[in-house]
């Protein structure tokens, strides 16, 4: 997986490209760090170009959400489509992290 961060004032958009699976957990540390370290209070994780996500991937998103909440920030998911949408619907992640 690759990711790009785009911060504009209070809002940061983190775009995840490729797949988000267990093997990406090292790289994902960077995402978590920027969530906690960034000035932005509102974090949007864009999954439009995320082709596939496994249960570890969902776990990572939930972890990121936990850390953000501890830092007083909000996380939202966007661009949910295809396989990712099916997994999100199945796992009811949308009840924990809002989807826009």
């Amino acid at each position: 997986m690759e990711y790009r961060i785009d911060t504009q004032g209070e809002r940061a958009v983190i775009k995840i490209q490729g797949v988000l699976t267990f093997d990406d957990h090292e790289k994902f540390k960077g995402v978590v760090k920027s969530i906690t370290g960034d000035e932005a209070q509102q974090i949007e994780i864009n999954l439009a170009e995320t082709k596939m996500i496994d249960s570890a991937g969902i776990g990572m998103l939930l972890l990121a959400n936990d850390k953000a909440k501890k830092a007083g920030k909000t996380v939202q998911l966007s661009g949910v489509n295809g396989h990712v949408a099916k997994v999100v619907e199945l796992s009811k992640v949308d009840q924990l992290i809002p989807i826009i």
């Binding site: 267990f22 978590v32 496994d54 249960s55 776990g59 939930l62 936990d66 099916k86 997994v87 009811k92």
Partner: protein, 349 residues
């Protein structure tokens, strides 16, 4: 009915077709013939119709039975481990189980990733510790050099530096103790690092194994969810089918009622038959009685007229009356009778 044995005198000149009595008899016989023919046809038609109606009834009843059997066979419940489960509930039960399992997978996933991150952080701290020990050892080496120097200097200085010698010897043994301490620390860190890396290694292996068997990617669960949704749709459409069958059944029942009414109506032909036969029998009886009682009056035009009227008055069926009128009186009177058409005639009950 004319009794063949009785010899009846029909009057002095044998009745010619032109005599009123002869005309009466011919008229009555012709009408009777035609009425009886009609009666026979009526019976045949209605018997056939009745047959058809009864067959139809039987077919309908059969069809109803088949429908109900089909319905019973589709009744919406399933037995499982001694409990009856409503089929409509089944998809929801399955969905709940599926969600529960999925939630647990996710909790474990989150914890697994969290654990690995924590272990990574610990390893970093341990690295930091290692660096500190390096520094301690470096300081220790310096200290030992200093103490060696001190011992050499104090040896040169002779007796005056005896106290100093003691201090430098102590420093030397202290630095030795620090050496063995830092070695212990290093061993300890080494052991901890090894343990942690083993744990990380086995978590990684587990995830690897799980990925290989596809246990991580949730696609089976996604499929299961889709299968459940298909099941639910199938159940809904089957309920619609059942509803349609019920509707068909209701209208079939109504048709049965109509058909039974039709049978009852058709059976009224039997009453018409009665009235027709009565008319013929009465007419012929009237003539026999007339001939029997008053054979001398058969040439009397007025008496024939009266007999004719009496015969007419005894006829209850409109059609039969018209038929007799036509044969006895002619088309004109038959037509005007037709127009009068009294509603008080006894027709069908």
């Amino acid at each position: 009915m004319l009794n063949v044995d009785e010899s009846v005198e029909l009057g002095d000149p044998a009745p010619s077709p032109k005599s009123p009595f002869a005309r009466l008899i011919i008229g009555v016989l012709t009408s009777s013939n035609s009425v009886l023919n009609e009666a026979a046809m009526d019976v045949e038609i209605n018997a056939t119709r009745l047959s058809e109606l009864f067959n139809g009834l039987t077919d309908n009843a059969d069809a109803q039975t088949k429908r109900l059997s089909k319905l019973v066979g589709q009744i919406a419940s399933v037995e499982h481990e001694g409990q009856e489960i409503d089929l409509v509930d089944l998809p929801n039960i399955l969905q709940e189980s599926l969600s529960e399992v999925t939630e647990r997978i996710l909790v474990l996933s989150k914890q697994g990733v969290s654990l690995i991150y924590s272990l990574d952080e610990i390893l970093e701290e341990i690295d930091e510790l290692g660096t500190c020990i390096d520094e301690i050892e470096a300081i220790n080496r310096q200290t030992r050099l200093l103490s060696l120097n001190a011992q050499i200097e104090s040896g040169r200085a002779g007796d005056a530096a005896l106290g100093f010698q003691v201090v430098s010897t102590e420093m030397h043994s202290l630095s030795k103790r620090i050496d063995s301490l830092s070695e212990r620390m290093r061993n300890s860190i080494g052991a901890v690092t090894e343990n942690i890396q083993e744990v990380i290694g086995s978590i990684r292996d587990e995830y690897q194994k799980m990925s290989e068997i596809g246990a991580m990617d949730l696609s089976k669960q996604v499929d299961a969810k889709e299968h459940i949704e298909i099941l639910l749709k199938a159940l809904v459409s089957r309920n619609v089918e059942i509803q349609n069958v019920l509707d068909d059944s209701t209208s079939a029942s109504q048709n049965l009622s109509y058909e039974i009414s039709a049978v009852v109506t058709a059976m009224q032909f039997q009453d018409r038959l009665n009235q027709r036969c009565e008319a013929v029998v009465n007419a012929l009886d009237a003539i026999v009685i007339f001939i029997g009682n008053t054979p001398n009056l058969i040439a009397n035009v007025d008496e024939c007229e009266t007999l004719s009227r009496n015969i007419m008055d005894g006829i209850t069926l409109h059609d039969v009356k018209r038929e007799f009128l036509r044969e006895l009186k002619g088309d004109a009177e038959a037509e005007s009778y037709e127009e009068e058409d009294s509603a008080s005639d006894i027709e069908l009950f």
